[in-house]
Amino acid sequence: MKQLPLYDPRIYGRMYYSFPLSIIANEEGFENWFYSSFIQLQSSDVTETLARGVADYRFFYVSSPLCYEQVLDIEAYPFEAFSEGITKFIEDAVDTGKYVYAYVDKYYVSDNPFFQKRHYMQETLIHGYDRESRTFSIIGFNKQRLFAPSVVPYADIANGIRHVDWNQSAPLFLLRAKKRAHTPFRPDEVYLLLDEYLQASNSCSRIGSPERSEGLVFGMDTYEALAFSLQRLLEDKAPIVTNIASLHVLWEHKKMMLRRLEYMCANNIIPPDSSRADQWGQIINLVDLCKRRLMKFEFKGDPGLIGQIVADLSSIRQREEALLRKELPFIKLGGT
């Protein structure tokens, strides 16, 4: 039996960032990199959202392991490299200290909401195995929709991997935390990203992101996209759970903003402000309320709840913008 450690990812709304964070969160210098990241947001624009049925709402440049090359050693394998012996490939990877990040058809994997209900390609992170019980240790969203570890049979993962369309999918990745990855905190980069967030600027070209930017909006413009996506729930059977996940991402984004500001204050980059925690706390609680209202809508279908959420999103946007514009001049100075 072998199991690699997992650490508190701090944020976990989407597996494509909670998985890498679960691997690296205990590493030296993690906080410098972490608080320089997860600043910009992106969403599908109204046209794309209409075509998809729901907004694709996410943190900018976090959705592939390749986005974490500053802090992770990454190996990518096509299906042919492991198709003859999936379980041995995984065992060998874990034996050498590598976490296995793979797309699987969740229909075949127990302890998740899609098991034996719906074919759905999604990431899983394998961090351990037990040859005696022929089980893998994984982490992800379980059948209670909680981000938690699970133990599943070898056969579940093997079948889940075999039924992925590997011509369309990303490769299988083996991940390991980079040792001694010195990533200093960079107030200049944080300033640029915050400014782009406030200006709703497209960060793709500056960052050199491999992701496409057509059909996307950024930063403050994502509020409108999210509101549009939520209002679609009133018109047809749009996916509610995806919208709940989007509000969860928004909530984590606001928590990150406060933590980042507190980190910068603790490192003398911005001055203390006795009202900071309370003002951001109000925003964070209001986003959490929006999320709970949407959960209630999932059960009761009361359109008034959507109206309240959309109104609250407008308030959250205004309040956040005011608070960030107050902090920006100090961040620009960068503690000088």
């Binding site: 309320l289 959960m295 059960f299």
Partner: protein, 87 residues
């Protein structure tokens, strides 16, 4: 109707049995110690609304720390039922 007992049973139902009645009773008044997720909390509110034919504003959950204390929930439901009778 025994309000307190009904609330305990509703907590069990909201967790889909992940928390059983024995566990709910073992924490006494301190329902907060059950660590119910936000999804379970909302499901609990919806079930209580159906059981007692009352309305619970989601905003009240946080304001009143409603779901942390069994006695708070009993009081809230009792007050809402009295208001309903008065109407």
């Amino acid at each position: 109707m025994n309000i307190e007992q009904t609330i305990k049973e509703t907590v069990v139902a909201a967790t889909d049995g992940a928390v059983d009645l024995e566990k709910v009773e073992s924490v006494g008044d301190n329902l907060g110690s059950l660590g119910l997720s936000s999804l379970v909390q909302v499901r609990l509110i919806v079930l209580l609304e159906e059981k007692f034919d009352i309305e619970v504003d989601v905003e009240m959950i946080e304001e009143m720390q409603l779901l942390n204390s069994l006695s708070s929930m009993v009081k809230y439901v009792s007050d809402e039922l009295k208001l309903g009778v008065a109407d």
